[in-house]
Amino acid sequence: MTTTSTSVETGAETTARRRQALVRNRNGIVLGVMVVVLSVVAYQWDGVQTTAVTARTVREASPLILAALCGLIGERSGVVNIGIEGQMLLGAYSGFMAASYSGSLLVGVVAAVAASALAGLFLGWAAVALRMDQIIAGTVINIVGAGVTSFFYVAGRTMPRFPQWSVPGLSDLPLVGRTLFAHGPLTYVAALMVLVVHIALFHTRWGLRTRAVGEHPGAADTVGVRIERLRYVNLTLAGSLAGMAGLALIQSAGAFDRGMTAGRGFIALAVMIFGRWRPTGVLGAALLFGLFNAVQAQLQFKQALDIPPQFFGMIPFLLTIAVLAVAGVKARPPAAAGRPYDPE
């Protein structure tokens, strides 16, 4: 029988913890450094194209980040959300229509967030109160989301464009400027949300309880954490992130289109898994997916290779499968994800 020695935490221990975190994320860090170095090298070779690719990487990553964070909060609370695709469509549609009729972007944003939060609340109701299978509940959101937005679709409407926010000074920097500091508001929101969710998850009471509920709801229940309420709240909040993800799509496309999510709600789940259910991991994984998309788009645009566009079209989906087949083996999802909580 061994006993652990008790000691006041020293600076050395904190350093050790940080070192552990570095070791854990070794692959990601190495990959990130490689990408940055390659970008800088490529920039020397062809600045315009490189910047186009890196800027597009960040743009493509934004909706994925927001959507993956939506899935992350759900699973961290113990609810699998496969309805992100539908939530994004509902958010994008509502935001577009509201902005289009009111002429105000702000109204659009509010409508988008509200609509997808409502879809999140529905998922909470189905999963918590009805104890419905969560995959089916998500599928319902996808079907109804795609159906309603197509049913009420009105062709030919327009809405005010999202502004481009260039950070004064920084946006003029070579490579970095166009890549990081000249985007629409939702790209900055996506970056901000990574930080917010990270702090909330690991440094607040809410986060501790959420992680406990996602891993072992029984344990949380026996210390008086109100599991059902927490799941409702979290799924609603997470839903609003999916709405922002939908807006990020509109920010790029300029208007709503039927089925404009094109599978991004599902790819977001792969991003979440690849990011190991951590906001910082999601950021890295989403950027990686974004990079692939950007490179593919650039190659296709330049017609650099004589490959039919359909094959380019398959890349993100094959990539998702490959990522899951490789990373999914080691992935350890929150233990309670997918299971209705039954106090018996």
Partner: protein, 545 residues
């Protein structure tokens, strides 16, 4: 709502503080006083809880004084868990009242119970493995600093409490990496952090080594001395006698008596618990071991997390003997058994059964004459939604006469099922009801009937009587002995030392994935086996069996 006097059987005079029921109107019922004139820390009177089809608690009374340790004794299914779940607010009673320090309480949920100073250490730890010790302890009552979770503050506070009560833990350790004994301390600290004055320990020793158990009992005494009242739930008489002040015994949901521990004996408590005098030993003849049937050499096996948990185990089992594997849970028993039965891949070493070398493939292992009673019957051994009949052929469904040319033959299945249900005394409304509706003992009988209805070379039985009523335990034990006497080699894995000593002809002690000793139960002492289970070495060399 009429109340009847709690039945008190023979045995020492009950000291229950409850006066004979005077059927007073509910509003007038008040708490009674402890012998020292102050209110009881806890008083429970007439508590009744019904579930569809069963009365889990029927008019239960008990009292607990400050600083007292009360044993709550009873068989599986006697209603101990239901009772404490009502105290802790997980279930709400249908009838009856509870007082804490003379104030009536009716906990609406665990949160409510906790806020009143009731703490509970659950049989299955209610801990979150990926969180740290400190995070687990403060969960639900977290300190905050500038609106953020104050991790350092939490760790400081945990360190203080752990030092005050002598329960040493490192607050920043990740819980899932810690041994079971430490995890249990975290559970106790969780209650103390919430300033519990009443601590309920639900079967806390089931997962501990004898040495860890002794440490826990010492901790309990210290806590009681510092003024905490403790309800200690167990079915192990030895522990009750070692640590409690009084014992309340439950049988079939009713409290059948409360006795002073000082005047109780193992026999008197056992009789009170079961309602008849119990045969604590299994009748069996001397074993007549024959050829080696199971031969395990330098076996290494990994668990689901790819950790090597069986690390070079070597032993054998002969025809006509029962070898009992004694060990604290989590020392590789599960992986050992799963490797022998082909369910888990063998990482290194060999397993040979009657000359057949096991290479995974559970079916080929079975076809070489192996029966297997798994540890977790609901999870591994039965399909709950399937009928009793289909479960009885779960391992033979594909063979004649149950199937042919790829088609199933339901008549043959039903025929066998009717016969086995009769022969093994499975209490079921019919062979076509879902097996999940049967009681634990009858579920286990379904498995035993399936596995032992034909003679096998090797019988592997893992925790065969866990969670089973006394009648079924005797039946299952007799079946294992009978299989031995018909010439099978029997490998029995059990966490209950009583079961090992009662059944085994040789005892193999497993510790951290190795068989550290093989002993003769006739000559080895319980204490020495306990020491070996904990990784220690007995002062005298253990006689090899």
């Amino acid at each position: 709502m009429t109340r009847s006097e709690a039945t008190v059987t023979d045995g020492p005079e009950p000291t229950t503080g409850t006066p004979a029921s005077t059927a007073a109107p509910a509003g007038d019922i008040t708490a009674t006083m402890a012998p020292d004139g102050s209110p009881w820390l806890l008083e429970v009177r007439g508590l009744t809880k019904r579930f569809p089809g069963v009365v889990a608690n029927d008019n239960v009374d008990l009292t607990l004084a400050t600083g007292e340790i009360l044993g709550l004794l009873g068989e599986n299914g006697a209603g101990k868990s239901t009772l404490v779940k009502m105290l802790f607010g997980i279930h709400q009673p249908d009838e009856g009242m509870m007082w804490l320090n003379g104030t009536e309480i009716r906990p609406a949920g665990p949160g409510d119970a906790i806020s009143r100073g009731i703490g509970m250490v659950h049989q299955h730890f209610q801990l979150v493995p990926p969180l740290t010790v400190a995070e687990n302890i403060v969960l639900g009552a977290e300190p905050r600093k500038r609106r953020l979770f104050d991790r350092r503050g939490a760790e400081r506070r945990v360190r203080e409490i752990s030092e005050r009560y002598g329960l040493e833990v490192e607050p920043s350790d990740v819980l899932g990496d810690l041994p079971v004994g430490i995890q249990q301390r975290v559970e106790i600290l969780k209650a103390l952090y919430r300033e519990a004055q009443l601590l309920i320990l639900d079967e806390p020793t089931a997962v501990l080594t004898p040495q860890e158990t002794d440490e826990l009992l010492a901790i309990m005494r210290d806590l009681a001395a510092s003024g905490v009242g403790i309800i200690f739930i167990t079915h192990k008489l030895r522990e009750v006698l070692a640590v409690t002040d009084r014992v309340t015994v439950l049988r079939r949901g009713r409290s059948v008596g409360t006795v002073d521990t000082s005047s109780a004996t193992t026999e008197s408590l056992a009789e009170l618990m079961v309602g008849r005098s119990v045969v604590l030993r299994v009748d069996k003849n001397e074993a007549e071991p024959g050829r080696v049937v199971l031969d395990v050499r330098d076996l290494e096996v990994r668990d689901d997390r790819r950790q090597t948990t069986v690390r070079g185990a070597t032993f054998d089992v002969r025809a006509g003997e029962i070898v009992g594997v004694a060990g604290v849970e989590g020392n590789g028993q599960r992986e050992l058994v799963e490797a022998i039965t082909g369910i888990r891949p063998i990482h290194a070493g060999t397993v040979t059964i009657e000359g057949f070398t096991v290479h995974g493939h559970p079916r080929s292992v079975r076809e070489h004459g192996v029966a297997y009673i798994p540890e977790d019957r609901e999870r591994d051994g039965l399909v709950g939604d399937y009928s009793v009949a289909d479960n009885l052929v779960l391992t033979e469904y594909h063979r004649r006469p149950f199937a042919g040319h790829g088609l199933r033959h339901p008549d043959a299945v039903d025929h066998l099922a009717s016969e086995l249900v009769e022969r093994f005394d499975v209490r079921t409304p019919g062979i076509d009801v879902a097996v999940s509706t049967l009681s634990g003992g009858n579920k286990q009988k379904v498995i035993v009937a399936r596995e032992l209805s034909e003679d096998k070379h090797l019988v592997v039985a893992s925790q065969p009587t866990r969670g089973v009523d006394v009648g079924s335990i005797e039946f299952i034990h007799n079946q294992l002995v009978a299989a031995r006497d018909r010439g099978s080699a029997v490998l029995l894995v059990s966490a209950e030392l009583d079961e090992i000593f009662g059944l085994a002809d040789r005892i193999a002690v497993i510790y951290e994935g190795r068989i550290v000793a093989v002993c003769d139960p006739a000559t080895v002492s319980r204490e020495d086996v306990g020491l070996l289970m904990a990784g220690g070495q007995p002062s005298e060399p253990v006689a090899a069996g």
